[in-house]
C-alpha cells in the first residue's frame, strides 16, 4: 500500500452531488434566497443565512456556492484574520467567509443586502481614525 491517498474514499455527499445536479437542501436554500431577495427589494429588509448551523456536508456548501456563481465585486478584509467577500452572480446576494488569524473558517454566511455591513467604515473606527489623523497632521509650529 502506497499511502493514505491510495485508499479509495467516497463521501456520501460527493456521491449525491455527482448523482444529481442539485440536492434538496441546496434547492431549499436557493428558494429561501429568492424569497428573501424579493423582500429586500420591496422593503429593504436584509437577511443572513449562517451555513454552519445547517446540517449539510461541506460538499453541499460548495454546491450552493457553485450554483450562486461569482459576480462583479470581490473584497478582501484583513480584520482579526482575513475575510473574503464576493457578490454572487445574483446582485444583492453576498457570500461572506470569515477566517481567523490561522486561516480557519469561523463563519460562512450568505447575506441578502446591498452591501454587507462589515464593509462599511464603522462610526467608532472613524472616530478613532480621525483622532489618529489629527495627531498625525504636522502642526503650524513645525512648518
Amino acid at each position: 500500500m502506497g499511502g493514505l491517498s491510495d485508499i479509495p474514499v467516497v463521501t456520501a455527499a460527493d456521491d449525491v452531488a455527482s448523482d444529481t445536479a442539485i440536492t434538496p437542501a441546496v434547492q431549499a436554500l436557493l428558494m429561501e434566497l429568492a424569497d428573501r431577495l424579493e423582500v429586500f427589494r420591496q422593503t429593504g429588509e436584509t437577511h443572513v443565512i449562517d451555513l454552519r448551523s445547517l446540517p449539510m456536508p461541506v460538499a453541499e456548501h460548495e454546491l450552493l456556492r457553485e450554483w450562486l456563481g461569482v459576480g462583479e465585486v470581490r473584497i478582501e478584509l484583513d480584520s482579526l484574520g482575513p475575510t473574503a467577500i464576493h457578490e454572487t452572480a445574483y446582485p444583492g446576494i453576498w457570500w461572506v467567509v470569515h477566517r481567523n488569524r490561522d486561516g480557519e473558517v469561523m463563519t460562512q454566511q450568505v447575506e441578502v443586502t446591498a452591501c454587507p455591513e462589515i464593509i462599511r467604515s464603522q462610526q467608532e473606527d472613524i472616530h478613532e481614525g480621525l483622532q489618529r489623523l489629527r495627531e498625525a497632521l504636522p502642526t503650524g509650529e513645525s512648518a
Partner: protein, 364 residues
Amino acid sequence: MTRPTLAQQLARQGISRRAFLKFCAATASMMALPPTMAPAIAEALGKRTRPSIIWLSFQECTGCTESLTRSHSPTVENLIFDLISLDYHHTLQAAAGEAAELAREQAMEEGGYLVLVDGSIPVADGGVYSTIAGMTNLDMLAHTVKDAAAVVAIGTCAAFGGIPKADPNPTGAKSVAALMADGSIASKPLINVSGCPPIPVVITGVLAHYLTFGTVPELDDLGRPRAYFGDSIHDRCYRRPFYDAGKFAKTFDDEGARKGWCLYELGCKGPTTHNACATAKWNMGTSFPIESGHGCIGCSEPDFWDAGSFYKPLSAATGDLSGLAGGAIAAGAVAGAAAGLYARSQKHKAAASREKMTVDDLKD
C-alpha cells in the same frame, strides 16, 4: 477600581470595531443564534466586564481541555486572553503549587466568578481517590462553588459521571449535578456541557453566551443548553433520508456503507443522542463521526458507557438475555414442578376423600 468593559478592552488592544463585528458574527454562529443577532451581541458585549473564571479538573483525562484548546472559531486565545480572566487552570496555568492555590483563593475573594468543572468527583472512601494540594476533589469543589455565580460542567464526566462512574464505579464517582442534588455542594445555576469530549465550539459558545448576556442559557431536562442539545444527532443527520427510506448499511464495508446509507443497524446512537455534532462538526469543521462512516456512540448522554454495545442497534437488549433465559427456565421448571406436584397432591387428597355415589344419593 472599575474594570474596563470588554469593548474598551478590545479597543485598547487595537482591535477595530469591524474586527469586533466579525467576532460577534462568529460568536452568534457559535451560540447557534440567528446571524441577525450579531449587532445585539456586539452591544451586550460592549457593556460587560471581564469575568473571572476558575477551572477545576477532577477525575478526567484532560480530553475536555484538549478539546477546548483546539477550538478554532474564534481562537481560544482570543476568548481566554481577551474576554475572560482564567485565574486558575491546572493544566494551562504557569503558576504551580501554593502560588496556584493562592490564585484560586484570590479569584474567589471578589465572588461572582464562574466555575468550570471537568471530570467527575469521587466520593467513595472519603474521596481519597483524587486529591489536589492535599484537598479532596469534593472539598475543593464545595469550597469553590460556595460563592460562584454559576457552574459549568464541562464534559460527560462532570455532567453525568461519565466513564469513571461506569459500572462498577470503584471510586464512587459522581457528577456535579448529583452532588448539588444530594447537598454535598451548594446549589448554583448549573450548565451541563456534555460530550466526551464536548464539542469545543459548544464550550466556547456557552461561555460566550454567559459573557454576552450574563445569564444561563435555556436548558433541557438534563441541564444542557437547548441551543446545542435541543436536536438529536439523528434529527440533524445528513444520512437521515436513508433512514427514512429504509436503506441501512449492514456492515462497515458493504455496498450500503460505501453509499453512505444509515448506520442505525451498525449501532448508531444518533436517534437517542442530543448534541450539535451534525452541525458544529469536528476538526475545524471537517466532519463528524457519522460523516466518517462510524455510528454515533452517544457520548453526550448519561450512562453512555453502560448502555449496551456501540455496535448493536438501539433496539437490541442491553442485558445478557440468553444467559438469563437459562436461569429463568430452570427456575420456571422448579416452580412449575412444585406447583404441579402440589396440585397433584391436592387431587390425590380429593380422590381419597371422594365418596362413592350410590343410588340413594339420587333420592331426596
